[in-house]
């Protein structure tokens, strides 16, 4: 298959192979058996061809019919063994490679789950997806086919070369030279065609970019009657790709006839010279016959070998990219503090227990192994926090703030002012470099990530739903929630009424990120999801931006109930939603420039006042 190989060259084969070894090691026995069977199967093939000489010279030449029949009998047995070996190793190889592939896929996904958010922010989804699609595909193809074919063609080449050398070293010199030239030509051609293919790749990229933009904006195209222009633009890109691809394929398509013709040239040369050698008695007729069969056979393995080698290199490059993801540093997750359910005793002290009691505490194991239980309350403080994503520009500068349990803190400011960064730091999507953040008086860096995140719920601006039912999606906040709990959460978020209007109610299947729901409805589900998790700290990052003011009014009660007795951080575009916050922070370029409650800030007549009265445009 003339697959287009991009980035076909792996950077560090040794390293990739050694990473791969750990997967192969589990299946060393199976792979060993495969290798042995491949060798058997290949040797049988070679042996069979070699024996043509024996038959012609020994039996047919001397008219030994009985010996001839015996020998044919032997051939039947040997060939049967060879074919059976092939059948077994093929099945075994597929079985093993399927397993290995599944393991790699599992580990890749597993590792992906452990990577810090920063990784996902700096790599596009398409890029990560192609590890699962393109790269794993090439690895699979290579495992399915290359391993055995490479061994096979290598043995074939070496074996054939040895045998023809034994048959006639004089003729073999010619064959060697021809094969070497063939190899050089193949190398040269594949290098050249890579150049053409990269041009094709570029044209393809441009066309795909154009298609994406135009199909994404198809509704605008239609509204503006712009179909003709859109097609004209497409034709241009399409034509360019057609030209580039035609050139690339023309060039790469010449490789096969070149190699084949060369091998015929070689064949002709050897036939003539062999003929002369036989005439002058330097060679016998049987040797010449089987020699010629061998020569004909050499072209195929050389061709196959180079082809497989290219696939193998492409697969290695793919594997390298996969392993590179697996080598990415995991989220730092050490912490002496974890969340544990506790019993509240009458005297007010806490006692650890294993059942759910509704009460939680931080279990802080100190350096001297003493265990301290700190009740979970939701007190969050920033102490002089400075943060930067890239180590150069500070996104937050000397931010200090405190949120006592049950308080509602709002952040207001333009895009890029650092609002979302603050929430990123609270649940440790990123770690602070300067200053510290404490949760119930404990530095968040000491708290195990699962425990920390269990104690915080977050509702994001872009709601992401998963394929599954509505109930499944709400339950994402608490996997073991009963249907009654799900309904209660939905009612709280005011989602119950629209859900019951859906054809299958709570069992309605959502597909494609809930594309069949309106943005507002999806937002309501996300709020229900947060409600069911029931954490002491809640972060609402533009959570109500897609809900119109009237619906927002309707869910206000639900939201109020949701925020009751919780520490809440609100980021809002619409200022009406932050008015009743205990404190409003106006952020500008990473600094808190104003803080206070609504009335205070209005009285200040500063930035908040301007925003509030619509004199200043957000975003």
């Amino acid at each position: 298959m003339a697959r287009q190989l991009t980035n076909a060259k792996p950077q560090d084969i040794k390293k990739t192979l050694s990473s791969f070894k750990s997967y192969a090691a589990h299946h060393a026995l199976a792979l060993g058996i495969v290798a042995i069977l491949v060798i058997i199967s290949t040797c049988v093939n070679l042996w069979g061809t070699f024996q043509i000489r024996t038959i012609i010279n020994q039996y047919l030449g001397q008219g030994d019919f009985e010996g001839f029949v015996h020998f044919i009998g032997l051939m039947v047995i040997v060939y049967l063994i060879g074919a059976t070996a092939t059948a077994i190793y093929k099945q075994l190889m597929i079985h093993t490679s399927s397993k290995i592939l599944k393991e790699i896929r599992r580990d890749l996904f597993h590792h992906l789950q452990k990577l810090p958010i920063g990784y996902f922010d700096t790599h596009t989804h398409g890029e990560i997806m192609s590890r699962f699609t393109n790269d794993l595909d090439t690895v699979q193809d290579a495992l399915n086919n290359c391993f055995d074919t490479l061994i096979q063609s290598f043995i074939m080449i070496v074996g054939t070369l040895t045998l023809i050398f034994v048959l006639s070293w004089q003729l073999s010199l010619i064959v060697f030279v021809c094969m070497f030239i063939m190899y050089l030509i193949i190398q040269y051609l594949s290098k050249k065609s890579k150049l053409y293919f990269s041009k094709q790749q570029k044209a393809m990229g441009e066309l795909n970019g154009y298609i994406e933009e135009m199909v994404d904006g198809i509704k605008v195209v239609k509204v503006f009657n712009h179909e003709k222009q859109s097609i004209e633009g497409f034709d241009q890109h399409n034509g360019k790709l057609q030209d580039a691809a035609t050139n690339a394929l023309t060039f790469s398509g010449r490789t096969i006839p070149t190699v084949v013709s060369l091998s015929y040239f070689n064949y002709a040369l050897v036939t003539c010279l062999g003929g002369f050698l036989t005439i002058y008695g330097l060679m016998d007729l049987g040797s010449l016959s089987s020699y010629l069969v061998f020569v004909r056979q050499t072209a195929q393995p050389v061709n196959q070998f180079t082809q497989q080698l290219n696939f193998m290199l492409a697969a290695l490059a793919g594997a390298e990219r996969i392993f590179a993801v697996m080598e990415e540093k995991e989220e730092i997750n050490q912490g002496a503090v974890s969340l544990t359910p506790v019993l509240k005793k009458e005297d007010g002290t806490l006692e650890e227990c294993s059942q759910h009691t509704g009460y939680w505490a931080w279990r802080h194991v100190h350096a001297d192994n003493t265990v301290e239980l700190v009740p979970l309350q939701g007190d969050v403080r920033f102490h002089d926090v400075t943060f930067s994503y890239d180590g150069r520009t500070d996104v937050l500068k000397n931010v200090s703030l405190y949120a006592k349990p049950g308080q509602k803190i709002a952040f207001v400011g333009a895009t890029g002012a650092g609002k979302t960064t603050i929430t990123n730091l609270i649940n440790r999507f990123y770690d602070v470099h300067q200053g510290s953040i404490t949760y119930d008086g404990i530095d968040v860096k000491l708290i195990q990530k699962e425990s920390l995140r269990h104690s915080i719920s977050i509702v994001l601006q872009d709601t992401h739903l998963f394929t599954g039912t509505i109930a499944d999606n709400i339950r994402y906040g608490k996997l073991d929630a009963t249907l009654d709990e799900v309904i209660a959460a939905a009612k709280l978020a005011n989602a119950h009424s629209f859900i019951t209007h859906l054809p299958d109610g709570y069992d309605t299947m959502l597909s494609g990120d809930g594309a069949n729901l309106s943005q507002g409805q999806r937002q309501l589900l996300a709020i229900a999801r947060a409600a069911i998790a029931d954490p002491p700290v809640l972060i609402l990052d533009e959570a109500t931006s897609s809900i119109d003011t009237r619906t927002e009014k309707l869910i206000e009660k639900g939201m109020d109930r949701l925020m009751e007795n919780r520490t809440v951080f609100v980021i809002a575009h619409r200022l009406s939603t932050v008015r009743n916050a205990n404190a409003i922070m106006v952020l500008d370029h990473g600094e808190i420039i104003e803080r206070g409650d609504h009335d205070e800030l209005i009285a200040q007549k500063g930035r908040y006042y301007q925003l509030y009265t619509g004199q200043f445009e957000l975003e």
Partner: protein, 574 residues
């Protein structure tokens, strides 16, 4: 399936034909070479005729050279034909998508349309490019080689009459059985991709709810399924190799046995036998090749189906094609309009909409989310067609006008609006490709986009593409309004198009729009302030008209309007 796509090869028929001829020519020369070889041995060497050996040797080399030339020509013609086919197919799918109505687009979703247009077409094109040569070459090689073996020794050639059908049937069974398995495998791959894709885009949700373990379990289930399906598919498809050997080896043995007996009996030459043996590979290999091509085509069937689905989609907006009927004024009437997105849906999205919008007036539309405001206005330029009732413009049903003319006269700023890569000017010219500087100034002034455009160094020639200026949401909305204004439409529809614009600019835009006396304006808004001054305000509730009236009327007797008005009064600086 493939026959549905073959017509795209028509235009490149000539090249497909030339390529076919080249392949056939190449085969002939390749087959002649072993014949020349066995002649050299049987006559040249046996008779010690050096002259004969040299002549035949040169002939062999000549054949190799011609085979090379034909092979190279083939590469050229096949590339032209294969890529031409792909380009023609891609073009047709793209044009078909341009014809799609909004309902058609919704049916597929844009991302799936993009995949079909890019990777699916590529997969199919690759299958054809890679499969073409073996598909022509194999049957031809098979027949010719068989023919040659019969001329060498008809009796011995009978062996092939048994071997070929046995292998052929075996390979056919493999291809037949693998087809449905590949389909299963493909669907598992799709589910894996869905899980990963969802996981990636929702990674913040996954992490903040600490559901990594749950996600892994989910993944592992599908991973196991994929392993099962791909293993069972590949296990069958790799049977072709051992099957090949199980047939080839007995064939070789049989030929050696019968041939040997003949040589011993003196009815056959040694050279004939070696020549004969070299055809074994050729004959059986060509069967293998064919089965490989079919396996490859089977794998591309899913892509073929997805492409054909797009091509076969019935475009549900029918164009009257009436170019004579023109919109003169822009008076709109809704007569008992009902609408639902899918004819199978139980409930109507819009019910019994009855509305008169006089030329030049302004209609404001308010309503909660899901109240079908957007659906209502999309019916006017026939982005969707009404399910029942009718919409008329200047007393003619909108369906009577040609779609092009209708949309030319209706300027619409969509809620989810897009600017395209290129300069500000490129984007504005979408509205009117012949607009001059003055008209651009005029439109941008009304849309209140002039102040920020003038702040850019390159003004209208500022590049909006990557690396260019990042404009804010509010600025984007203003450009979209200017773009629609350049059409000089009779009817202008703004679907929540000023939500990110600050109140001061919005007021300017409102005043600017008011100056367009002849244009009928429909404005959907979240903020009451955006529609306060409209001639009529329509309150939509759950797809039905709740009330129509002026600000004063509604403020007096409509509870929904009162609620909206008072809740926003304080918030947005009315």
């Amino acid at each position: 399936m493939i026959h549905r796509l073959l017509p795209y090869a028509k235009k490149y028929q000539k090249y497909f034909l030339l390529a076919t001829l080249c392949v056939i020519g190449e085969c002939v020369f390749e087959l002649v070479i072993p014949v020349l070889m066995s002649d050299i041995i049987d006559y040249g060497v046996m008779n010690q005729d050096t002259h004969f050996i040299i002549v035949n040797g040169l002939l062999m080399m000549g054949c190799a050279l011609i085979a090379f030339l034909l092979g190279s020509l083939y590469a050229r013609y096949a590339a032209i034909a294969g890529q031409g086919f792909g380009a023609a197919l891609r073009k047709d799918v793209y044009e078909k998508i341009q014809d799609f109505s909004f309902a058609n687009t919704d049916h597929f979703s844009t991302s799936s349309l993009i995949t079909r247009l890019t990777s699916d077409v590529n997969i199919l094109q690759n299958a054809i490019c890679n499969g073409f040569r073996p598909l022509i070459r194999s049957p031809f090689m098979l027949l010719l080689a068989l023919l040659f073996t019969f001329t060498i020794n008809a009796q011995l050639a009978l062996v092939f009459l048994i071997a070929t059908p046995v292998l052929g049937i075996g390979l056919f069974v493999i291809v037949r059985r693998v087809g449905p398995l590949y389909k299963l495998m493909q669907s598992s791959i799709d589910s894996i991709n869905t899980v990963v894709q969802e996981n990636l885009s929702a990674i913040r949700v996954v992490k903040s709810y600490v559901k990594e373990g749950y996600e892994e379990e989910k993944f592992e289930k599908i991973n196991e399924q994929l392993k099962k399906h791909s293993e069972s598919a590949f296990r069958i498809s790799v049977w072709n190799m051992p099957l090949f050997q199980y047939v080839m080896y007995p064939t070789i043995v049989a030929i050696l046995y019968f041939g040997g007996t003949m040589i011993l009996a003196g009815t056959m030459q040694v050279g004939e036998l070696t020549g004969f043996l070299s055809y074994v590979m050729q004959i059986l290999n060509s069967l293998m090749m064919m089965s490989n091509v079919f396996l490859m085509l089977t794998r591309s069937i899913a892509s073929q189906e997805r492409i054909v689905e797009v091509l076969d989609e019935v475009v549900d907006i029918k164009d009257s094609g009436n170019t004579e009927l023109q919109i003169q004024h822009g008076t709109i009437d809704f007569n008992h309009v009902y609408f639902k997105y899918k004819s199978t849906a139980k409930e109507y999205v819009l019910s019994d909409i009855d509305l008169h919008i006089p030329q030049g007036s302004t209609l404001g539309i308010l309503g909660g989310c899901g109240s079908a405001k957007t659906s209502l206005v999309q019916l006017i330029p026939r982005l969707y067609d009404v399910s029942e009732g009718e919409i008329t413009i200047d007393d003619h049903n909108v369906k009577e006008y040609s779609v092009e003319h209708l949309r030319e006269c209706v300027g619409m700023v969509l809620q989810k609006n897009v600017l395209f890569s290129g300069t500000i000017r490129d984007n504005l010219l979408w509205g009117n490709p012949n607009a001059d500087e003055k008209e651009l100034d005029w439109a941008c002034k009304i849309a209140c986009a002039d102040e920020f455009i003038n702040r850019f160094l390159d003004h209208y020639d500022t590049d909006l593409g990557q690396g260019g200026v990042n404009i804010s949401g509010g600025q984007k909305q203003r450009l979209c309004i200017a773009r629609a204004l350049l059409k000089k439409p009779k009817i202008l529809i703004l679907d929540d198009s000023t939500s990110a614009v600050d109140t001061a600019s919005e007021a300017t835009i409102r005043k600017g729009l008011a100056s367009l006396k002849d244009t009928t304006k429909i404005i959907i808004a979240q903020r009451v302030s955006s529609v306060l001054h409209a001639d009529q305000i329509l309150i939509l509730d759950d797809g039905k008209i709740n009330a129509v009236g002026t600000h004063e009327e509604l403020l007096q007797n409509n509870p929904i309007y009162q609620e909206l008005y008072y809740s926003q009064l304080e918030g947005a600086g009315l």
